[in-house]
Subunit: 417 residues, 2 copies
Amino acid sequence: MALLVQKFGGTSVGSVERIQNVARRCLAAQRAGNRVVVIVSAMSGETNRLLGLAHQITQVPEAREMDAIAATGEQVTAGLTALAICAEGGRARSLLGHQVRVLTDAAFTKARIKSIDHSRITAALADGEIAVVAGFQGVDAEGNITTLGRGGSDTSAVAIAAAIGADACEIFTDVDGVYTTDPNMCPSARKIGRISYEEMLELASLGAKVLQIRSVEIAMKYGVPVHVRSSFSEAPGTWVTREDKSLEEVVVAGVAYDKNDARVHLVGVADRPGVVAEVFAALAEANVGVDMIIQSAPNTASDGARADVTFTVSKTELARAKPIIDAVAQHVGASAVRYDEDIVKVSIVGLGMRSHAGVAAKMFQLLAGCGINIQAITTSEIKISCIVHAKYTELAVRTLHDGFGLHEAPAPASPQE
Amino acid sequence: MALLVQKFGGTSVGSVERIQNVARRCLAAQRAGNRVVVIVSAMSGETNRLLGLAHQITQVPEAREMDAIAATGEQVTAGLTALAICAEGGRARSLLGHQVRVLTDAAFTKARIKSIDHSRITAALADGEIAVVAGFQGVDAEGNITTLGRGGSDTSAVAIAAAIGADACEIFTDVDGVYTTDPNMCPSARKIGRISYEEMLELASLGAKVLQIRSVEIAMKYGVPVHVRSSFSEAPGTWVTREDKSLEEVVVAGVAYDKNDARVHLVGVADRPGVVAEVFAALAEANVGVDMIIQSAPNTASDGARADVTFTVSKTELARAKPIIDAVAQHVGASAVRYDEDIVKVSIVGLGMRSHAGVAAKMFQLLAGCGINIQAITTSEIKISCIVHAKYTELAVRTLHDGFGLHEAPAPASPQE
């Protein structure tokens, strides 16, 4: 008898029939002896419909009101799912963010969870009910409705799983697990059976889009085993868990790509302390997220040392960021600012990189081997990312995927290791 | 500078454009120097869409879940209206039932307001904001979302107006006021300029459908002046206020009809104390509302005194009520139970009846004069209702309306009275 959190995304609850399937699935888990908490997203399309209404009224809607509007999507699904479970002969009750209560900060549209009072969930479980919790939403200290950002229902699910000490958090989605890369981009992509939090974190943040990055952070922090699987089949999916000896044989676990960023290039910035900080402080103040940051070695010019600073920002935030960047660029004496939206970031991710030399060199060789010019590089302990022209996305992904042997089933770990 | 509550119904907020109109209207009221609280309904069609989803899942949905689902309609409108006010250069914030907080009992789908904590509304007003409150919804003592029943946004508006001591509660709707009868049924119907709470109560309960009956009760209890008017024009509508000397000249204020009831006839019920109570106790226990109740004088039969009991129940509740009625009828020894859904209740309403004799007689004569057979009659101090065959609805309404002179503008009250 386990304590299970089951999260169903928008596609999995996209129609009344699918909600009924979800209800049957939850009930089956309960009847198999488990205590079950269900987290639901808005029906697919619903959040966009709601935000579309708001955007018909104003292009810069008040974030507090956006959250009050958007949170209704999950509220409806939670109610319908509870009804469907009852209609199948089970017992269930819906719980909203302010009822649970999922306390967040007041950063509307991208709030972060501060604490979860799970007494109403555990009370429902003690009564033999399935607790159906509206994902994506919380409430700030003043009782305002907040939302956790796109994909926030994953975060809700993992945070609640952590709060109630669940044995596992099952993320039901429209794909059957985490793949070595995007199967639409690379036909030889394979489903991964087990992956570490760290690798998943890098894959998610780089656009693999199966799990919201913050949910993986929370899962890692609290050691919640996460099972990403299909809501349309019984087949096991991908387990995201603590690092495991058996994982170490794999050097590269997956190849990710991300077309959501634009590259900003500040040319000839004065190379003195505090200048770069000034640039990013201005962006941080405007709440513009910055991803890669690369500073070139300074070139000594006649009027003092100058450096180039390259960074990426989300394309969706670029319009808002441009005037800030232009102003600060002028202020720090940049000789030019260049923007390029026609880029893709391709990354390889794997815990095994830590102990295997030459992975970066191999990546660069593979890309060079098919004529792809690398515009920028960043590395972390378990990830190497290259920015290349967007037209090379498919070529780069396929080349790296098969070049690192991801098209083949991994060799089992040697017994002596 | 007045404190105004403005309530906009589903048709008035039925599209983004209409919500923008509402925003402009509220802002105009605020800019004219008033403090403004807006109460909004769900966009027209939205409540039915939501309940339709629930009914696709189950024909007997859990009431608690229905309320969680249905309340989202008003939540969305409140958020959109606040956005629209801000987009027009004003300042506004949405407030939900659990935020205000509108405390109700736990009678889901037809909850009653117990108290309103208006501190968040008054705080918003003190900040110079327009408070946009989601109508129709509240929260019970345990934090469950409740709704006030169909038309409950009127009740929200008047209750909030009473709680904050508003100078007036404006009910904006798709008609331009209260009419002497349904204009679709009787072309000579006229808009009433001013009507008493008591008359409005009888007209609303009898199907005039302009104002939810409970909202009028609350307005009467707390003396809230209510102004029913069109959201699509600036013309004054109908004021619903305390009884006024000038009203007394009018004997009959309006003619109402109601096709929503079915007639139940229990034949030959034992005429001893407690029997009738037993019948209605069984219905009350099942939460079936009963409207007219008529007990005939007992006929002494061989096996003791027998009486006929006739009452009406809502057609929508009849299916649920039938087994209860059949069982209790058998228990109290009724010789037969007859149901008739093909009826209409036609009523005349007016404070003036209290001091004018012969009004009932005139009503019966008017109906008889065009060959309409009366199946049952009930009277109150200011109302007389007749049940007739449904096919006579239009004939009865027109005959009574013009027969009591409602097609003519009322004579001004004599100065000496």
